[in-house]
Symmetry: C2
Subunit: 472 residues, 2 copies
């Protein structure tokens, strides 16, 4: 097979050495290791198509890999069949901007391009591509689309699903769907494109994408607000939506228990309150219009909030530096938690209106069943997405015999709480190889049945990222 692949992609397009292959076979946190015949790096859509045809002929599975920044092991190759280990397909050599259409606000790219490069390309034409997440320096567009990535700007622009205007996809058998016209309106049948977004590589290989660009934001206001409870935060969100709805760029809710950890472990953190707020609401408003007085808008909502008893105290940034200081605290959460202990992190989403009840119920569960843990809440409140964290000390964790089983016990318990509020166990991280059993356990059986049938339409032999999403 390797000789045949060499004919298609040339010597630059294939990796067979075990050491060189290692980073392509292992998730970035080095928690899960896979196996494959080789890593293939095609340089064009036609090469991808030829590789897929060869894989079909050889009956080998194909494991697509983007920037390898996932959290659910969706990019770790694991065929489950020693005779057919399959190949890893990585598009990092396909990393061009194909076209920028400023008038139509569309940038068309190869799927292997890194998110940060798309940011730069849009910036050069006075536009923005509004997806921002921690891994933007290494995550590739193809992977971000396949996982329907989220990030901090979802509250305003939606997840990747809302940012894609067109796709080019190579199917399991090598046929190519060219859907890059990027029309704002097209009512000629079923929206197949949306099936590939969030399919985690199980329906086809995304080789190109047309992405929506947006006006650049040149004006912003930032506040750190002290609120008494998630319920008050939710009321304040409704108030912000009424008067400043279209300007909300970020709306994050964080528990005092979380910021205690940031204070403890991170240098140069400035808390602009005498005592840490019990609940911190961090709000950014922004707009492309330089004349809009966002500080006044922010002040108006906060004053009304003070009068209504929803706001206990608030700090509005008066300089770019102050704004950066506020967000530095928020962005230090992961680093602080890594230093504190072992965090079992959840990715539940419920409707925003259910967030307070979900947090209360999760707190009750944790106190009763896992009293060894402290709990932290980091919540994208505008999206109803709660990263509920149970933090165990290194000491305690060392004493747990079967760590995987214990983590699973914690996760299932919290997912069950989410399900009570019609929530999902995976808001933005995906299913991957980590959560297929939760999908069976908690998902709608009818939807699951239909998903399996849709899978058969696109990949009847189950050779596209087998084991991911739908399990074995």
């Amino acid at each position: 097979m390797i000789d045949r692949l060499l004919e298609i992609v040339g010597p630059k397009g294939i990796i067979t050495d075990a050491t060189d292959m290692h980073p392509y076979l292992t998730d970035w946190r080095e928690r899960k290791h896979g196996n494959a015949i080789c890593v293939v790096l095609p340089a064009s859509t036609e090469e991808v198509s030829a590789v897929m045809k060869l894989a079909t002929e050889m009956q080998q599975p194909v494991f697509p890999l983007g920037g390898n920044t996932g959290l659910c092991y969706g990019a770790v190759p694991e065929s489950g069949n020693p005779e057919k280990p399959g190949i890893v397909l990585c598009l990092r050599r396909m990393n061009r901007i194909r076209e920028i259409d400023v008038v139509s606000d569309i940038v068309t790219v190869d799927a292997g391009i890194i998110l940060a490069e798309v940011h730069q390309a849009a910036d050069k034409v006075e536009r923005q591509f509004p997806m921002h997440l921690g891994s933007e320096g290494s995550a590739q567009i193809g992977g971000l689309i396949s996982t329907n990535a989220g990030g901090t700007a979802v509250v305003r622009y939606g997840p990747m699903r809302d940012l894609v205007a067109g796709l080019e996809v190579v199917l399991a058998d090598g046929r190519i769907i060219r859907d890059l016209a990027a029309l704002r309106k097209d009512n000629t049948g079923y929206m197949l494109r949306q099936l590939f977004i969030g399919a985690e590589g199980t329906l086809g290989i995304i080789t190109g994408a047309a992405l929506k660009m947006f006006p650049k934001q040149s004006n912003s206001a930032h506040a750190w607000i002290d609120v008494a409870s998630p319920a008050d935060a939710v009321k304040l969100l409704a108030s912000f939506r009424s008067t400043a709805g279209q300007f909300i760029e970020a709306f994050e809710l964080v528990s005092a228990s979380q910021y205690e950890l940031v204070k403890r472990h991170i240098d140069r953190v400035r808390i602009p309150f005498a005592a840490l707020p019990e609940w911190s609401l961090m709000v950014e408003l922004s707009t492309s219009d330089v004349h809009t007085d966002l500080d006044a808008m922010m002040g108006g909502v906060l004053e009304a909030g003070l009068e209504a008893g929803l706001v206990r105290d608030a700090v509005v940034a008066t300089s770019q530096q102050q704004a950066e200081e506020i967000w530095h605290v928020r962005h230090s959460v992961s680093e602080a938690n890594k230093k504190e202990g072992i965090g079992v992190v959840h990715d539940v989403a419920v409707r925003t209106s259910f967030v307070p009840d979900f947090i209360a119920a999760a707190d009750k569960l944790s106190a009763e069943r896992f009293p060894q843990a402290t709990t932290q809440v980091v919540c994208h409140l505008g999206d109803g997405n709660v990263h509920y964290i149970l933090m165990f000390s290194h000491e305690y964790w060392a004493s747990v015999a079967d760590k995987d089983a214990f983590a699973l016990e914690v996760e299932r318990a919290v997912h069950d709480v989410g399900a009570r509020f019609n929530g999902t166990f995976s808001a933005e991280h995906g299913v991957g190889r980590k959560l297929p059993e939760e999908l069976v356990r908690l998902g709608d059986p009818l939807r699951y049945e239909l998903m399996k049938q849709v899978k058969l339409v696109f990949d009847p032999e189950n050779r596209m990222n087998p084991g991911v999403l739908l399990g074995k």
Copy 2:
């Protein structure tokens, strides 16, 4: 079958009298007539499910009908099999607001509710549901979702596809998908919901929907701008997007030939220019923030446009009345055209950047092949959606022997021009029973093949609105 249906829906839920059935079997323009055993009006999702199970047992097709406002005969029942004429299913008795969640900005409704009632419900809680089209007083949400309706606010809020947060769907065999949790984020597999949106009733019966609400706009600015060409209009759009991008609520381009007809046939039309602009650009900016000076923003773009030679003249409304007068002209187009003659209207969309070339090419085609016609352009420029119209006098039309064949000849010729610019022949009106052959002729064969296979997953016996979209 009628007795069995009576058991399910009761006497209020069934119509069998030929006269009473007539409006349910005929499109609203009375151009196409269908046939069915009876009209069924279920009062609940469970009744819909029971009806579908019965239809499965009896092997009868089912023709869903919303408010009957479509333009492509997608709601005219026509089984093609005299022994199995099928039943019409209309949900107008299912017309409740099920729930309003202001905090999460979600309104959940029965599919039979009329769009204008959703507007009112949102308005009552200080929000808006931003879909606006001519038929909003009679179009039902289920039909609007099934046809992925557009309207005048697409430039800002997107088509129905972007406004749906959840669906309840009854499948052909009566199974019910309950997907109304309306989460902003959920990455647990394939986005099946998007398949039903725009499927024109061929995959299942939409019985309920969770819709996104938005902040109310309480501040707006309106301008009628005289531009020399579509190319200048496009440049001006780019300029508006750079400085006022997030405030654009409407961006319409209309040819002088079109407004001549409005002047000729409509009373109380005020043209605020000495002579009709060759091309009229009609722009609305709006926001929920009362302090934003939209007039200044509009003025800024127009001044820069004047300096750059893109704007020849412009009128900015200084009162609500003036604004209404401007939009009255735009909204009088259909009425004027009806009085003028027989208009063959197209619903092409291309990327906005291709709009000028498309219009030029369509003009060339019309002049060469259909010199009897005058041509009018009504364009949702922000969406790249061009309603290109060839207008024939009543006299000429009377002389055409085979009117259907002639109209088809015109349509195909204009669709071919659209296809040269990677455009679609149906931007917002859909395919229905009118354009399935165009879908075969102009669509991607691979996409068509996949659509047929997806259809088989949801409706293996082809009993859901057979003949619509995918043809016989």
